[in-house]
Symmetry: C2
Subunit: 473 residues, 2 copies
């Protein structure tokens, strides 16, 4: 491999005392691993960067165990990196200063489902699919769906979203409360199961999106939604991505309560066709989904079909049967992995900008112009109802010049989004990769305020050090 972490993220590794390892082994026995394979698995994620191995991995099974690990690490000044399902995209899991990776995948219990209140409390290692499986007979579902089958803890820490955010919001709107182990070992429970509260500072929203830098999330209480009475999905091809995006903008502005609307460009459609064995026309395409009553879904769909027609959309193909819909959305969800197969052995540098919706067509079209001049294959997919899209720049890990080219394109896309009043990351987080962009986006006073919070919670910088904030600035 040949893609070192970005210069701003380079850190000196801290010493790993053998006394700490002995203490952990005494308590956790075989659930402590220092094997190369386990450490390598936990020292990487879906980002393009070379792994940075933790010194040890501990497989925790309860909040109390996490507290014990955190207290042990704190005693020796050793970093702690919470690990869910390993699907983060910006290097959040890389142990840039060494330390202990706490694997939470064994914390996979559904703690409680309150069907009447439409809330569920789960341990942090429960994945979004496992939660929905547990909800199957309740008539409820949990809508947030990043591409990977991420853990609820990781999704909270990343402030993740996905294809349903246009209707149901992101983790920001859907986490009601958290259990968090703080760097000093205290256990905090934030929020309640009430739908709203004005009781003090919003600690829930502070931990949501904190990327493991303020504490270890061990339990998550989320909002659930009634499974819609009727669902229909459709695919529609457009002559250009501008026309597709303009269809979406008008849909949102009309107040149509669309549940999902995803943009997939021609190259990404090719990847999806190959990977999911579909035969969609290789054009800029929108995937739609409508939720509501039978009549409501019908009405929404007619409006959108008419808007699409005005923008040259053709071949509006309906998928009303559940298995057709599943096939379509599975294809969309596996798009990231499908795109990786466009270039065997590649890794992806993925942009994640999100702009005010009035600027989305401009932003996507100008980005398309940039990409025309690049040697890299760069499929585009987007949660366009939110103004969020991803360019996956496929790079050969053996060619540093390809990483450099991808980073050049990434910088241009981010700069453009910020100039348009947008953000450098809609749902992937800062991690190791966007620390400079964070400063560009918010300015030194706001980043200074964030650092002040970090310092107040974690004065010795033990919790996932080296993420969000650059070492130097």
């Amino acid at each position: 491999m040949n893609h070192p972490v970005p210069p701003a993220a380079v850190r000196p590794r801290r010493p790993f005392p053998s006394e700490l390892l002995s203490a952990l082994q005494a308590q956790f026995g075989e659930r402590v691993s220092t094997s190369e394979a386990v450490r390598a698995h936990h020292g990487r994620d879906e980002s393009p960067f070379d792994p940075q191995l933790p010194d040890a991995v501990v497989f925790a099974q309860s909040t109390e165990e996490v507290r014990a690990i955190v207290e042990s690490c704190a005693r020796y000044d050793v970093p702690i990196i919470p690990y869910g399902n390993g699907s983060s995209l910006e290097g959040q899991l890389l142990a840039v200063e060494g330390g202990v990776s706490i694997d939470l995948s064994g914390m996979n219990r559904i703690v409680s489902i309150a069907a009447q209140d439409m809330t569920a409390t789960v341990e942090a290692g429960v994945s979004r699919k496992a939660l929905n499986e547990a909800l199957r007979d309740t008539g409820l579902f949990f809508p947030i769906d990043p591409g990977a089958d991420a853990s609820l803890g990781g999704m909270s820490a990343t402030r993740a979203s996905g294809t349903n955010a246009v209707r149901y919001g992101t983790m920001r709107e859907n986490v009601l409360g958290l259990t968090v182990v703080l760097p000093d070992g205290r256990i905090v429970k934030t929020g309640t199961r009430a739908r709203k509260s004005s009781a003090g500072y919003d600690l829930t929203r502070l931990f949501v999106g904190s990327e493991g830098t303020l504490g270890v999330i061990t339990e998550v209480t989320v909002r659930l939604y009634p499974q819609p009475e009727a669902v229909s999905a459709a695919v529609c091809a457009f002559p250009s991505m501008g026309e597709a995006v303009r269809t979406v903008i008008e849909t949102i502005q009309l107040g149509v309560p669309i549940a999902r609307v995803e943009f997939v460009d021609a190259l990404a459609i090719r990847a999806i066709n190959r990977h999911s064995n579909l035969t969609l026309p290789e054009s800029p395409t929108l995937f739609f989904e409508f939720h509501g009553s039978e009549a409501g879904v019908q009405e929404q769909a007619e409006r959108v079909e008419s808007l699409a027609g005005e923008h040259g959309g053709s071949g509006f193909a309906w998928a009303t049967r559940p298995e057709e819909r599943s096939r379509l959305w599975n294809a969309r969800h596996t798009a990231f992995f499908a795109m990786l197969q466009l270039k065997p052995g590649c890794r992806a540098v993925t942009t994640d900008v999100c702009v005010p919706i009035s600027r989305l067509a401009d932003c996507v079209e100008q980005t398309e112009q940039d990409l025309l001049g690049s040697p890299l294959p760069c499929p585009i997919v987007g949660h366009v109802g939110d103004g969020n899209f991803h360019v996956a720049m496929l790079i050969d890990p053996a060619k540093p010049e390809e990483l450099e080219e991808a980073e050049r394109l990434n910088r241009r896309v981010v700069q453009r989004a910020l100039e348009m009043g947008g953000t450098c990351t809609g749902e992937h987080g800062i991690g190791l990769h966007k620390m400079d962009f964070l400063l560009d986006e918010h300015g030194p006073a706001a980043v200074g305020a964030m650092r002040a919070i970090k310092h107040a919670f974690d004065p010795r910088n033990l919790m996932n050090p080296g993420k969000i904030f650059s070492y130097s600035a």
Copy 2:
């Protein structure tokens, strides 16, 4: 008056240096006031507590002016209390340690309206009605509507909501970004105009609900919504509050996207009838509003009417014409003032609990039992779609025993809500009044984390001191 601030909120006043007054007068001239009348006006709110006067009031007109005032106060260690429209309910505006009240009502400019993006940026002194007036020709509206015509800055600081929250969320969901003057005079801009972001800690959500204790909010960017194509409203009387509340619970659980559903008990209906010259039956009543397409509104209304019928609801009266609807909702919005007129010269101690919706009927019915035994008139209104309701306990300011009785009832209601997994405050905030409840609700570790943030931002405790956190604990 005879209702001192609660014991936990009693503070020593700080000295007010004449040099600070001279400095402020030199810069702001007649926009600095030390008159008794102006100070008295700014040292109270809609809470039942005796006023606590600031030493001076400064009428600010820009973020830069606020910065100058904050820097001057910081130089002399003098407290700062941001003041919007004076409508807070929990003593948030009382100058318990003295200091300077910064009146932001002159900061009433609409900075920008981005109709295509459905966002608006306003100065903190703009009221919710003024914003909606400015939006009139755009086809958009801003839904958050506390009873008073509060300022957007104050609504942000209180994490306010109102009658539309069941569909549109609260200030938590609808503030996209803020401009805030920090205690050291730095100006922070949080958030962007993008609908979602994972870029660093969620400072926006941290300042939303911070009640002036972390900085002075001077600008607010909010989400807007398309005015619904069709709106209809209805009133329905029920045999008991339990049956009314159960109708609401089933409506929510069926996923009917109801825009507003308000509970008003028989006594509150009497108050509203007198105050707004209406003739509603004096029974437990629900006010409904439906937003959507013509067909969608019709369908929602039919479902709810049928559910209401199953619970003994009768006399479902429709208000489809805009002027009928306005009359109905004006009556609901002025309910607080109408209720005050039930007992001339009274002030109200208002509960604000919010519980998981499955517990709402129990919580309201048990509370009703408590109130039966009380000598105080205690009308109840509620944003029941959120699980939030208010008991307004009407007390004679000349009778300390009535405050004591109200506080006794309040403690019982809060204790019950917390046992049910709810919160002590759905939308009014902690202020001076619920500091002990905050600790009961969140526990010492979470409140300790909040205090750590407060200390990191404001180590000398200059920003609205004495609010949210008790002096002793």
